[in-house]
């Protein structure tokens, strides 16, 4: 029983990582209606920028906010330079573009900052949280930041004009244009926000997994899975999805005898797929009705 509780707690603490990333995934999905394979790398690059700023002597919070601003600008720049010209190209060509971007960012980061792992500071400390050694104050802080982001995103999409316009531009671009929304800039804005949220995720995750160019590779897979499980249209679902994936993965690894440990990622993914077969829009997503 103690192991069970411990595994759930450990699941929550890893789940926080996935939840953070899943929020960024949902953000970009809301803006461009598909998944960006380079998202993890963009977050990694942002995190390196903040690390570099701190190496140059900047205090944590200054570096934190400057990085968010830079990432926002960087996301918009990437969209304007690389993906706006591809706006008319088929979706699969865009996906190939994401893969190209992935390759470019990963390789450049390796050249600039090397592949040795780097320690990344946490503003929350790493003492045990509320007496549980399984969740540190950093992880609790990370969960807190995730929830703040979630509330912020929810309010943004639900109550601000820009948020509503962005949703409209993503799901019904033509109708959105008819009501006077500049869909092209909405997409760019979405990229910027996704990059900014990704940078927060990166800066929260780095103290746990250590900073290096490949740090987001695994995180992104789980982030996708979490977002898809929770429903790609729902920030709330994405966060819940993140925790569920984290907990389930740990329990599968512990309690499925024999292969559970070796195959916990495939088992976790298989479970998500079974959920999708029953609920194709994810746990909290809105069902989509297609017209002929």
């Amino acid at each position: 029983m103690e192991l069970f509780i411990n595994q759930i707690l450990a699941g929550i603490s890893t789940g926080a990582i996935y939840a953070c990333m899943a929020l960024a995934v949902v953000m970009i999905y809301q803006a461009i209606d598909h998944l960006n394979f380079a998202q993890g790398e963009m977050a990694m690059f942002s995190t390196f920028i903040s690390w570099q700023l701190m190496q140059w002597g900047m205090p944590y919070w200054a570096a934190f906010f400057i990085t968010i601003a830079l990432s926002f600008a960087g996301g918009i720049a990437i969209e304007r330079v690389m993906f706006k010209p591809l706006a008319k190209a088929p979706i699969l060509t865009n996906v190939a573009g994401f893969i190209a971007l992935y390759s470019i960012i990963n390789s450049s980061a390796g050249l600039i900052w090397d592949f040795t792992i780097k320690q990344y500071p946490t503003p929350f400390g790493s003492a045990p949280f509320l007496g549980s050694q399984l969740i540190s104050t950093h992880q609790a802080g990370m969960i807190g930041v995730t929830i703040l982001l979630l509330i912020g995103l929810y309010a943004f999409f639900r109550y601000t004009r820009v948020g509503l316009a962005m949703r409209a531009a993503a799901s019904l671009p033509e109708s959105a244009r008819l009501v006077g929304i500049n869909t092209s800039w909405m997409i760019a804005l979405g990229w910027g926000m996704a990059a900014a949220i990704g940078s927060i995720a990166g800066m929260m995750i780095a103290p746990v997994v250590f900073l290096e160019p490949n740090m987001m590779l695994g995180v992104l897979i789980y982030g996708f899975a979490a977002a898809v499980l929770g429903g790609l249209t729902s920030p709330f679902g994405a966060v819940i999805g993140g925790f569920l994936v984290g907990i389930f993965e740990n329990l599968a690894g512990t309690y499925i005898p024999g292969i559970g440990n070796e195959l916990k990622l495939p088992i976790a993914l298989a479970l998500i797929i079974s959920v999708l077969v029953v609920k194709p829009a994810g746990l909290f997503g809105r069902p989509i009705v297609k017209r002929v």
């Binding site: 103690e2 192991l3 411990n6 595994q7 090397d114 040795t116 320690q119 997994v209 740090m215 512990t254």
Partner: protein
């Protein structure tokens, strides 16, 4: 007068003798070698998931540049042709064939990764091209009978595991061992070596946890290992995961006897990021000096290494264990080629590689020597245990060889 004439005559005969001597030991070349040049092929992942190892190739290239700048080997310049296989075995085969059939190299040197080397081993042996000093710690490279053209360099993972097994049997015979291993050739080889080494006491291992490199964090494995009641924790991990484990252990307040594999024993690359305060008392073993450990700052060998980095590879990071590795292995190759003299045939390369005698590259620990013979294709067999204290490793105990008795009789 007479004596002077005699002396002249003697000098003349000496000159004649020496020149004819050189002519007698006639120059012999295989593809890839000539009076002016030796072509060496290399395969390393510069891109893809294992691109961190690309540094090894770059260090080697820089080292050969240094050799060339200093006049080359017996007057011949080294041409180092290094290709990327992105850690994919099919690509490694393509690159190996390109090196042998198109670039016509004399030998393939320090190709990296167990899967990639396994993929090209048969081809190179059939073609009789030396596959020299492969960059992997699998034990299967020491097999001169079946693969006379393949040779390893670093101590095998298994022999390193044997050393820990010996240590544990002696110091902690009642210990309960929990192993965290990377689920690939490295981790599995190591685990097998550990079980071998413990022999009939292998029941000391109470928990094994394999992780995949795609996992972002290994928290859950650590939780399970702790729950298993283990009081010895062996971490067969690559640097990122080793550092995570060290940090995590401290966070959950678990203090077993902690052994880290040599792969992740770098002070600058693992222990410093994980926190020195969390790393006290960790055990490991080494065969090379750590470029990031201040205790070697005044070591003559390491001074040469630092000077090399500064002049020929300034962007190279001395914290990165791969630079020390690349330097040492390149130096060993240069020694082999020096021994070859003017007979630069593939056969002679293997013959000389198999007759290294007490060779000591600048970067190996004091007392560790490279020895090979026609029946012994494992250049480095020795390691020394060490314990982390303060901000550096403290070596202790004798220099050990990891060969088990059964294994040496088996050879």
């Amino acid at each position: 007068m007479l004596s002077q004439k005699l002396r002249l005559a003697a000098l003349a005969t000496a000159v004649v003798f020496f020149t004819s001597g050189a002519a007698l030991a006639q120059k012999k070349y295989d593809a890839g070698a000539s009076d002016t040049e030796i072509k060496i092929g290399n395969i390393i992942p510069y891109s893809g998931p294992a691109s961190a190892y690309g540094v090894i190739g770059k260090t080697e290239e820089a080292y050969f540049n240094k050799i060339n700048a200093e006049g080359g080997i017996n007057g011949r310049k080294i041409k180092f042709i290094s290709y990327d296989d992105s850690y994919s075995p099919p690509k490694a085969v393509e690159q190996a064939r390109k090196l042998v059939e198109s670039d016509e190299v004399l030998l393939i040197f320090n190709s990296l990764g167990t899967p990639s080397n396994s993929a090209i081993q048969k081809y190179l042996n059939a073609k009789k091209v030396p596959q020299l000093f492969v960059a992997t710690g699998a034990s299967k490279w020491n097999d001169p009978k079946n693969f006379p053209w393949t040779m390893g360099w670093q101590p095998s993972y298994q022999s390193e595991a044997h050393i820990y097994a010996k240590y544990l049997l002696k110091e902690k015979p009642e210990g309960k061992i929990g192993v965290l291993y990377q689920n690939d050739d490295f981790g599995k080889d190591y685990l097998n070596g550990l079980k071998d080494g413990l022999a009939d006491k292998s029941s000391m291992i109470v928990a094994e946890e394999g992780y995949e490199t795609s996992e972002p964090s290994i928290d859950n494995h650590i939780v399970r290992l702790k729950a298993s009641g283990a009081d010895v924790f062996i971490s067969v991990t690559t640097p990122k995961f080793a550092a995570q484990a060290i940090k995590r252990l401290a966070e959950i307040d678990w203090h077993p006897l902690h052994i880290v594999s040599n792969v992740s024993a770098s002070v600058g690359g693992v222990l410093k990021p994980a926190g020195f305060e969390n790393s006290q008392g960790i055990l490991s073993s080494a065969y090379a000096k750590d470029g990031s450990d201040p205790q070697w700052d005044n070591d003559p060998g390491m001074k040469k290494f630092y000077a090399f980095l500064e002049k020929y590879y300034p962007e190279g990071d001395r914290l990165n264990a791969s630079t020390v590795y690349g330097y040492g292995v390149a130096q060993t190759l240069v020694q082999v080629l020096k021994q070859c003299g003017d007979e630069l045939t593939r056969e002679n390369v293997m013959k000389q590689a198999a007759s290294l005698n007490d060779f000591e590259p600048d970067t190996l620990l004091p007392g560790i020597k490279i020895n090979t013979s026609p029946t012994d294709f494992a250049p480095i067999k020795q390691l020394q245990m060490m314990r982390f204290k303060g901000e550096k490793w403290e070596l202790f105990g004798p220099i050990m060889s990891g060969q088990l008795n059964e294994q040496s009789s088996f050879q």
